[in-house]
């Protein structure tokens, strides 16, 4: 079977600019903290099938956007290879460009003086879409994304949510075979996010051969939409499977969630017997700490409670729960996504 996307040992290292290095030498200069080479992608190997809605799940700085930029032909890898629609991204970018499109969350594409319709039409022309076809598609998509009443509004007058919907229309108007969505629902309200998710899912499911690579750090989004998910952290893919199978990897473990008074330190839980991994997050407004534990041995709960009480903290609730993707992530990475 032909893969829509395939990567092999993809590495991308960002070297700091000479300017930054120079500033680093100057003790009073700013921006000189820890700017060595950064490995954004570390031997990433993955295969995405045609017709798949594939998720890339990871925290900020995990390497998701770097991978998308490489696959979109905007960035070259330092080493390794990648193919999109059967073409090598390093050697043969133009045939790839005819078959892909990309939408990033929070992007500001186009020109503020053009209307929503005009902006999307302009981008469609860069892909050679027949003008009449483009206009018909734009109108259809404007209706679907609830932007019809803003069709003739200048882009600079759109709200950020409306602008993101326009960007989504820009992504779909060229009818790509492979669509890259980089945090497409970032900062959007619940309704706008829902409209986008539903359309993306329907677009992949109802048409043959359409592929979506979606990056997100919203667990529920990935869980609900994706056929398969790769968990990425610090440039490395830690696991790749269906959401169900990923959750199954920790089925022998137990997940406990606790909310307690703000803890002075969570270090007491590190290396505790029976604790596979855990995450903690303080909520300053409620003066509490939320803890999630992945336990290999359920009896570790009593040690956890003792450690909490030893800090004089009161327990607000304790709950045993079904494993979620977030738990899978905590189990693998040792911290939550946010």
């Amino acid at each position: 079977m032909e893969f829509a996307i395939e990567t092999k040992d993809l590495v991308r290292v960002f070297k700091p600019s000479r300017k930054l290095l120079k500033r680093k030498k100057n003790p009073n200069g700013e921006g000189g903290s820890g700017e060595g080479p950064v490995t954004a992608l570390d031997r990433v190997t993955t295969q995405i099938r045609q017709g798949e809605l594939f998720g890339l799940l990871g925290p900020n700085g995990a390497g998701k956007t770097t991978l998308i930029k490489i696959l979109c032909t905007l960035l070259l890898p330092t080493s390794g290879q990648a193919w999109v629609a059967g073409h090598d991204i390093s050697k043969d970018p133009f045939p790839i460009r005819e078959r892909i499109n990309m939408v990033s969350g929070g992007e500001t594409s186009g020109y503020g003086l053009l209307t929503t319709r005009e902006n999307v039409w302009m981008f469609s022309q860069f892909y050679g879409v027949n003008s009449k076809v483009a206009k018909a598609r734009i109108d259809e998509l404007l209706h679907i994304f609830g932007l019809w009443d803003k069709r003739d509004a200048k882009v600079r007058t759109l709200s950020s949510g409306q602008r993101q919907k326009m960007n989504m229309i820009r992504g779909f108007v060229t009818d790509p075979d492979i669509l890259f969505l980089d945090e497409p629902t970032l900062g959007l309200d619940v309704n706008a996010s829902r409209v986008i998710r539903e359309y993306v899912e329907a677009w992949v499911r109802k048409q043959k051969g359409k592929t979506v690579l979606l990056t997100t750090h919203y667990m529920a989004e990935a869980d609900q939409m994706c056929d398969r998910i790769a968990i990425i952290d610090r440039g490395r893919i830690l696991a790749c499977d269906t959401p169900e199978n990923l959750k199954r990897t920790i089925r022998h473990d137990t997940t406990f969630r606790l909310e307690v008074d703000t803890l002075r330190s969570a270090s007491a839980f590190s290396g505790m017997k029976g604790v596979k991994n855990f995450s903690s997050k303080d909520d300053a407004s409620k003066n509490t700490t939320s803890l999630t534990f992945i336990l290999e041995d359920e009896s570790a709960v009593s040690d956890i409670l003792s450690a909490v009480q030893a800090q004089g903290a009161k327990i607000h609730y304790l709950q045993k729960s079904e494993p979620t993707l977030e738990d899978v992530f905590i189990s693998m990475v040792g911290r939550g996504l946010e």
């Binding site: 300017k19 020109y111 503020g112 003086l113 053009l114 600079r156």
Partner: protein
């Protein structure tokens, strides 16, 4: 120092630092200085060649007129750098860095902030003026003659001239609040007004009557005339202002500068008000 003055001084200092960083941090400081000087010197060379061509065609040398043109053009570098330094702040912060909205809502005087941002351009412009003049005098034979007694008046004139330029720049900044991104047109066109009507490169008398009257209403006309009187030897060129004494010219410069300062306060406030009313404070107009 009162709290208000201290606050204004702090704003100015901080904005001047920011302006310098924005202008210069793309390259080495030495290269930046060279860059800042090459542009105006090349501009001066255009005039030198115009004179040479004219002289070669008619076989007619006119060193007094050449010095008149050259000195006017050298000091005109201040006009370009100060005006551009002030009005481009609005357009750069609004459209390029997209920080205008954040600076604007901070509790500082935006007027002082713009003046501060322009300071580095004025300073670098000053260096370019100096280099152009030195080059003119020692390489191109520009006539230079200045008495010790003229020095105080020269510097008072310089300060007033710059003060006036900043005021005009602020007027343009006020207008910029309402217009699309026309940085280039403004940078080229507005100085053009002064180039033509203020006797910068040629005496006012070369202009038609109505244009001469218009020129006499602009303070820079007096500044350029005063500067040339103080640093060039006496000549037969009819500048159109010969009937005023040096001190009278200085008084006219002072009066007209004050009027322009008040005008700048009004136009800037009006521009701000209208932009807020029309929702244009943080618009982007690139295409």
């Amino acid at each position: 120092m009162s709290a208000t003055v201290r606050r204004q001084w702090r704003t100015f200092k901080w904005a001047a630092w920011l302006g310098w960083e924005m202008d210069s941090n793309w390259t080495e400081p030495a290269l930046f200085i060279v860059y800042s000087v090459v542009k105006p010197v090349a501009g001066a060379f255009i005039l030198v060649l115009m004179y040479i061509v004219f002289a070669a065609i008619g076989n007619y040398r006119d060193p007094a007129m050449f010095s008149y043109i050259y000195v006017g053009n050298s000091f005109f570098i201040f006009v370009g750098s100060t005006l551009f330094g002030t009005f481009q702040v609005i357009q750069a912060d609004r459209e390029w860095y997209q920080t205008l909205r954040y600076t604007y809502i901070s509790p500082i005087s935006y007027y002082t902030y713009i003046v501060g941002r322009a300071a580095s351009k004025v300073a670098v412009g000053g260096l370019a003026v100096l280099i152009t003049l030195i080059f003119g005098v020692f390489v191109l034979g520009v006539q230079f003659q200045m008495t010790l007694g003229s020095v105080p008046i020269f510097f008072v004139g310089l300060v007033l001239g710059l003060f006036c330029l900043v005021s005009i720049g602020i007027c343009l900044a006020g207008v910029s609040f309402m217009t699309a991104k026309h940085t280039h047109g403004l940078a080229e066109g507005i100085p053009g007004i002064f180039y033509v009507f203020c006797g910068v490169l040629f005496p006012l008398t070369a202009l038609p009557g109505w244009a001469q009257s218009f020129g006499r209403g602009i303070p820079l006309t007096y500044w350029f005339d005063l500067t040339r009187r103080l640093i060039l030897p006496p000549n037969t060129i009819d500048s159109g202002l010969g009937f005023f004494s040096d001190l009278e010219i200085l008084a006219l410069l002072l009066a007209s500068s004050l009027i322009f300062f008040l005008l700048s306060l009004g136009i800037f406030k009006l521009g701000e008000y209208m932009a807020r009313k029309a929702g244009k404070i943080d618009m982007t107009t690139s295409y």
